[in-house]
Symmetry: C2
Subunit: 393 residues, 2 copies
């Protein structure tokens, strides 16, 4: 295990009545002029946007609204938000939605006090010195952005998707009402679960294996989510299991599962290029890549894949055949992905095989990428990444 810092200061307000506290929470954390930032029509249709605005009004808190954030949130929208915040003198950002809206809010928060282009932070040209405080009313459990230090933005110019992590942008609070996730379609529910599990798995597949607390917590969270998804797909209004997925989604990415080790994050990085090029759902993209990544890197530490197979996927350990047990773990994961409606390769994801040129282009982008690492479990060069795309084709 390695030395670590753990810092997850976000105040979580969780439960059926949680939204009622939104105005008090904004006030508590200093908000008096708020940007209410949201995505598409669902926040309007569900009445959540109106409810939140009315609560702010009743508490005498001024606000402006900005909607239209899309999945794989765009830099142009971030620029629009920064301009609006400056013009209106916004001192708090309230995100209503899922990871895209929260990630976009974080980018706006960095940008307001910065003279240059906020994209500089994502390309590592500059480091933010300030960030407007923000909080969220979460409606999609997946990205874990509600408690995390990370933000991922897509620049339309060149189709580049980059992430930037900084404790500066950790949200002050997260309001989570599992009932707000009842209307999530099956596809989005399942993709969210794939994303949540991958946030844990990226931390779990590590060569720093002597961190028992983190390993055992990670396995426990993975098993919990894996079991919670089926009741929810059957009955979208199952409060108990919607709640498990929602809370696990935050714990999956607030660093709890990663303490004491370096994560891998290659699957995320390989998927980012897929999203950048084909604008696919992030969680589904991860499911399409992971089995190929797993097979390609397995030899780096078969024992870790055996542990995953046995402790997470419930595979019987064949002590005479570690490789066989490890492979069964990956196959069981593939069956799990299929069972929840997720793809296990790229042609299932986008409806066709990707071309050699596309593979080369994505691998090239991936390796000049500034995000996270290029794989700690196995360091990946461009030709390795090409091979993984080819296996996942």
């Amino acid at each position: 295990m390695i030395d670590f810092n753990y810092y997850a200061p976000t105040e979580v307000v969780f439960g059926k009545e949680s939204e009622a506290q939104v105005a008090q929470m904004v006030k508590k954390y200093g908000g008096s002029k708020v940007l209410v930032h949201y995505g598409g029509k669902s926040a309007q249709k569900s009445g959540l946007l109106d409810k939140v605005c009315n609560l702010l009004k009743a508490e005498g808190i001024q606000y402006v609204t900005l909607g239209g954030v899309v999945p794989n949130p765009r830099l142009s929208k971030v620029h629009e938000g920064i301009d609006l915040c400056r013009k209106e003198g916004v001192n708090f950002i309230l995100a209503i939605g899922g990871g895209s809206v929260i990630d976009s809010s974080k980018a706006i928060a960095y940008g307001v006090g910065y003279d240059g282009d906020v994209w500089d932070f994502y390309t590592r040209k500059a480091v933010p010195k300030s960030s407007v405080p923000l909080g969220s009313v979460l409606t999609i459990p997946a990205a874990g952005s509600e408690m995390s230090a990370s933000s991922v933005i897509s620049n339309e110019d060149g189709g580049i998707k980059l992430g930037y992590n900084d404790n500066l942008c950790r949200p002050k609070f997260a309001i989570m009402n599992p009932e707000r996730t009842y209307t999530l379609p099956k596809w989005q529910t399942a993709a969210g679960v794939a994303d949540i599990m991958m946030h844990i798995m990226e931390r779990y597949f590590s060569h720093d294996t002597d961190m028992d607390v983190s390993d055992n917590l990670a396995e426990s969270l993975l098993r919990t989510v894996k079991e919670a998804v089926f009741p929810v797909l059957k009955n979208p209004e199952d409060y108990r299991y919607r709640a498990q997925i929602m809370w696990a989604g935050s714990l999956a990415h607030n660093d709890l599962a990663g303490c004491g080790r370096v994560g891998d994050w290659a699957t995320h990085q390989i998927e980012h290029e897929l999203s950048g090029m084909f604008d696919v759902t992030h969680g589904a993209g991860l499911a399409a890549i992971w089995p190929s990544w797993a097979r390609y890197v397995m030899k780096e530490d078969v024992s870790r894949f055996v542990r995953f197979a046995v402790n997470v996927m419930g595979v019987a350990n064949d002590f005479t055949d570690p490789e066989g047990t490890a492979i069964k773990g990956v196959e069981t994961m593939e069956r799990f992905y299929h069972a929840i409606g997720m793809p296990i390769n790229i042609h299932e994801l986008i409806g066709r095989e990707i071309t050699d040129d596309e593979i080369k282009e994505m691998a090239r982008k991936c390796t000049r990428n500034y995000t996270i690492t290029q794989g700690n479990f196995k360091v990946l060069k461009a030709e390795d990444i090409e091979e993984i795309y080819r296996m996942a084709r």
Copy 2:
């Protein structure tokens, strides 16, 4: 499951080199005039106190020191600390030690800005409106005070031990170097583990049982600690397992394991009276009480005790005999306590049986107690508590 708030903002700096960051951390959280608060001679003998003071000096941070905090920390010492802080204009408290020092620091932090006696907060006569910010360099993993909202103080006048919980006093940072726990004697190591496990178990034995994330995390932490203690008792300088116990100790009491349910806390309350009267080691007192509490309340929900037996204690589930399985779980816990050198009843703890008068006295104090609850798993009246003391005699 019930609605919940989760707020654990403490910044954790964990590892071999962690102490080196103490001055930067104090500065980061606004400390310029620091009370360095510690317990007995071990902080001096180990050189830790000098090291910390030198680091503060090197960073130009002024400080005063106050030592002499004892286990079951005394109100009189708290008063001394409050006077010193006021006289010296202290704006940050740095606790060096374990739960006693940190709990005492929290009490001082509440008291500095309050006109009346700080004991008023513990007796629920008043609510603190401010708290001097504090941080810690942890040397004893047990109480979990380094990330928690709780503080327990003993008033020598009447031998009353009371706790008070408030997010106001959540420490700003916790510096944890497992190497600093190498010199802990076996008894204290084991008592710490008993305390850590009990913080989880108090949250686990609840009638709000449909919170799978919390249940599974709780079981995972319990199993991790239960396995980590033996290598550490054998080799006190086993970094890996010292680290697991230290980190689990913080997670056991920062509320993670309790999200979505009401805990029980009766064992803690019953033990507090034992500590108040006999000044015993808290963790050992908990071990002496829990088996009797468990047998007394088991009928309230046998299935929970079966789950504990199977998932935590590794008992084979006899599906035809839930009560038998549940009892085996308690017996296995007793064998575990004995294996790590802990008592399983009061005469093993204090060397004699307690008298009927002492039982009556403790039960009386316990039921007019202001701390926590009087048992959520089973509401306990004075006669119930007497019976538990009698069973544990």
